[in-house]
Symmetry: C2
Subunit: 624 residues, 2 copies
């Protein structure tokens, strides 16, 4: 996987459907509201339908040309609201692609390739507020909200058979840990959650290609994948392909953390080709514009960068406005100080000027920009702990309290807001993070990185952090930012991205199951049933990574016969416990009781006899 394939080859691969899968759509109250799902056809005739983040790429009917960008999904909905206007927009300048782009010719060529991706930007008409939160507070249910409702429910029909047994449902009833998840998500419920600020729908009016999704503790737990070039390596083609690859495996959101050359042009490619919300950390680009000298950053340069990115269609901005001058000294005695890039940049600026950062002092000015495009806040945790021993310290919680204050200001402007969280937190300190966030940030969605539960697993931090992610997701975190095996070591290649995403799909699903999200467990049951029935192909296809599952199986039992064999390689024909279980049932049935619960009846009776016969601890041994 590490050898860089050609872009064309890679994209071709990412367009393949998953095994036995077809994309279908749930149509809403209007013809142009079509929510994609992936239908998996099982060998027993069942169809299992799952949430689909892969966008048009897995739709054979879709024509994909990355140099033209994706078709619009929301264009008409935005236009119909009549509260936006097209305008000339900001003129791109050379500096947008970095202060020292060594290769001007290459850049010109890249911009040329991105020419067809240029759009005249939209913004709110004077005095208008175009955020989903604004509509929600006014009681308006937008198509985006209805889309989210249909998407969260999926096709409930097939799940019913797996949830029919009342006794089992009672035994397995989840523990929502304070979440309030209705049996069926209605558009009105979505509206209410967005109005309360308990959920966000990241959807910039300049990103009509996005397939709306929600981030909130009363919805399915989502995951975010980070991509981005770097001063040290990677190319635009790789970045776009990484995006498509990431959503194929289940990334609900993608953050473009590019910090190297050609940032602006890279972003055109990514946003125009992304069906999922794109987030950025604007301070990274701003710093590029001032040659990497944090002290030289200014509100004017930052403001210009926000508008630049808002016009391109970025859906949410990580803004480290909680890094206050008075908190910086709290990090001095830490083992690993400030590990957030954005946080350390702002800390340095604050130190150099001995003033509150312009992110904090201009927060309302920032809100004014956000609401003109419906860009959501991801309030950055610039003072998050960088190791277990700095977890839950004064600096971290001081910033969290400020993020709570800023949330209320953002909400005053109807700007959608989520809160970023750590980071590195031992298991026994995770709950305190969730509790503190819910309390101080008024239930605004929590968006955490991991957390990593230990620090001694470089090369395996996707696992060390999936443990913390699953736990905090259960406790109420709405979106989990993935960690790849390369965390702390290097830049993730496409296989690392996949490994990180699968680990986080596991964490998110484990959280949904524990919370008792309606229907979440049905897919597990369908797979377990296939396992018990020896429907190997179904077992593979219902998994998060069918190819790998089949590949592992075939390593030991390559023959196709094995796919239907009533035993597997672990035990071999004689030892298979599931086969024996079936024999136990047949044995009971053979005893003349035909009912499905034959064994229950037959054995209950036998057990009774046994107990009548004394049932004492030791019974005389009879020769066998």
């Amino acid at each position: 996987m590490n050898a860089p394939d050609s872009f064309a080859t890679l994209l071709a691969r990412t367009r393949e459907s998953f095994p036995a899968s077809t994309k279908s759509f749930i149509t809403g109250s209007r013809a142009d509201l079509r929510v994609p799902v992936r239908d998996i056809a099982l060998t027993n005739g069942e169809v299992v339908s799952v949430y689909d983040t892969s966008g048009p790429y897995t739709d054979p009917a879709a024509i994909i040309d990355v140099k033209q960008g994706l078709q619009s999904v929301r264009g008409a909905w935005i236009a119909e609201r009549g509260d936006t206007e097209r305008y000339e927009g900001r003129k791109p300048v050379a500096l947008d692609d970095g202060s020292k782009s060594e290769d001007a010719a290459r850049l010109a060529q890249l911009r040329q390739e991105a020419a067809a991706l240029q759009r005249q930007p939209l913004r709110a008409k004077a005095g208008a507020n175009v955020t989903q939160m604004h509509y929600a507070k006014k009681g308006i249910i937008t198509p985006e909200m209805e889309y989210v409702a249909l998407r969260e429910n999926g096709k409930r029909e097939w799940m019913a058979q797996y949830m029919a047994d009342a006794a089992r449902e009672k035994r397995l009833a989840g523990n929502p840990m304070g979440a309030l998840i209705p049996k069926i998500i209605t558009p009105e419920f979505v509206r209410d959650e967005v109005a309360r600020g308990r959920a966000i729908i990241p959807a910039n009016i300049n990103h009509p290609e996005v397939e709306p999704m929600a981030i909130g503790r009363n919805f399915l737990v989502k995951i975010n994948a980070n991509i981005g070039n770097s001063a040290v390596t990677s190319s635009i083609e790789e970045e776009v392909e990484k995006l498509v690859w990431a959503i194929r495996w289940g990334a609900d959101n993608v953050m473009d953390l590019s910090t190297g050359k050609n940032i602006h042009t890279t972003r055109d490619w990514i946003v125009r080709n992304s069906p999922v919300p794109i987030g950025t950390v604007p301070i990274y680009q701003a710093l590029e514009k001032v040659g990497g000298i944090a002290e030289d950053l200014s509100w004017e340069i930052f403001r210009d960068t926000l508008i630049e990115q808002a016009e391109q269609g970025v859906d949410y901005f990580t803004i480290h406005a909680g890094v206050r001058l008075a908190y910086i000294h709290l990090t001095a005695q830490r083992r690993t100080g400030i590990v957030s890039r954005g946080g350390s940049i702002m800390a340095k600026w604050c130190m150099a000027h001995h003033r509150e950062s312009f992110l904090y002092t201009h927060f309302e000015d920032i809100c004014d920009i956000m609401k003109a495009y419906d860009v959501s806040f991801s309030l950055g945790d610039g003072l998050r702990p960088g190791c277990a021993s700095d977890a839950n310290d004064e600096a971290q919680f001081a910033e969290l309290h400020t993020l709570g204050e800023l949330t209320q200001i953002a909400w005053k402007h109807d700007v959608q807001t989520m809160i970023e969280g750590p980071g590195h937190v031992p298991m026994h300190m995770i709950q305190a993070n969730m509790t503190e966030q819910l309390k101080t940030c008024h239930e605004a969605p929590f968006y955490t990185l991991g957390p990593l539960t230990i620090d001694i697993a470089p090369g395996y931090d996707h696992i060390a952090s999936a443990i913390g992610a699953a736990m905090i997701g259960w406790m109420g975190t709405a979106m989990l930012c993935y960690v790849t095996p390369k965390e702390h070591l290097g830049l993730p290649d496409r296989d690392d991205v996949k490994q990180g995403i699968i680990a986080y799909k596991i964490a998110a699903h484990a959280a949904d199951v524990a919370k008792g999200h309606p229907g979440a467990r049905a897919r597990d049951d369908a797979l377990s049933q296939a396992r018990f029935d020896f429907r190997w192909q179904d077992q593979f296809n219902l998994g998060l990574d069918p190819e790998t599952a089949q590949e592992y199986h075939d390593e030991t039992l390559p023959k196709d016969a094995a796919k239907v064999a009533h035993f597997c390689s672990m035990c071999g024909p004689k030892f298979c416990s599931m086969k024996i279980t079936q024999e136990v049932r047949e044995f009971a049935a053979a005893k003349g009781v035909a009912e499905g619960d034959a064994l229950a009846q037959g054995m209950a009776q036998k057990a009774e006899e046994f107990n009548r016969a004394g049932g004492e601890f030791y019974i005389p041994i009879q020769p066998v």
Copy 2:
């Protein structure tokens, strides 16, 4: 890793020391009591010493000849007790290696190769009881107990500096969830835990090569790796190498689950070459002896098998004596029935004979055998759930209660006992398992497989289960049985074994940190400090898998210079947050405050000024 190397090559590789590591020994009250640790030399002169399961294989001074077996560690201690006797022992018969060993010549050759591994067995003298629990109850502190105490403590000296900060220690204080872990483990504490049955030291008197270790909730959380040939594949050489490979990466125990041909001879090779306790499931071999027909099993055949394996030196037996006739019907309505091999075999026997199994009726006879060799019980959970939807059901808990009764009978005979647990359990149902086990099994050590928190991740079940393992380990489980990526799909190769072990070392360590095990966090702190200081080589070497960490790093920044560079590939020179943090500190220092806590003082003062100046939410913007 999947291509089978030659045994010699493989073993050579497993004999290499870890980078910058040397094996050293902590000597106890007698010269022949030497507890191995791995000392990792850091580039800053520090030495970090870690628990070492790898045995003599990583000791350059040790002479290893797998056909001769390892040197004895405990021989003298056992002899000194004067309560054992050598005896002729049971005569191996052809059937010991399976009912239909197709290749007699091959078997003869294998036995020939194992000739030098034959030992005349030891057993307790008439009327004697040689279990560690028996000695413990009599108030005797055995060398094994002292060995365990020294091993659990390790070298505490180096940890001190990382635990010096009282405020930090208070903030990070673990939550032991009911465990009672002393600051220092004394031999007397070990004795008391073993006497109470709250810990076991698996150490068959016929396995003197074992380096004693303890399994109990007040000790470090341990992990078990399963190996074993199979009817379908693998060879003896592979099995021994898998053992050495498994302990290299950190397996505290290994279970030999061989079910195919040459079982007896394979076991000679494994036990004689293992420095860690070896567990087996004797019913597997017994079934081989009756040609795989469960109904044909008998107490006589089983008893003969127990003695056969006890004489060879197996340290613990998984015995599914809790599968009672009256419980079997409780599994009839399950989604995946009975998934434990041993459990399903016994269920079939019970069905066929409509009698309680001989494991249950002869339990005290089994105890008599166990105490004559100090074989520990691992009471099997034959009715464990095989999928999330069968978790915590009546069948599972009915068996657990019976295991509690059997535990008290075993303890009456002073036989060391641990309890096996599931399996497949969603996160929110894990605590109930631990609570029920503690209550019904009187704090006997819990030994769980995972549990897997979801069922939709075939190919990644080591991750799906590491989440559950970390949680239940924190809650009180003493040993975690690993799951590899091949779970449910095929037989693990050596890389799968490594992946499973690393995932479980992560889970076990996360549990130790959460419980607040003294010193557990020091290694994390040392690694985090190295990370902050840009001591890359130390960061790699302090990790669970130094080679992989370095390999990942070098993929992006191959040059040796990068190993000391004050930036890493993720951010590049300009963006490194840790570098900026250092600059923040220097900046503060440069302001004329020389103290180490310069920033704290300098900034606190500045922050004070700021607050005196009003510290109001919005301050007038000054031109930058």
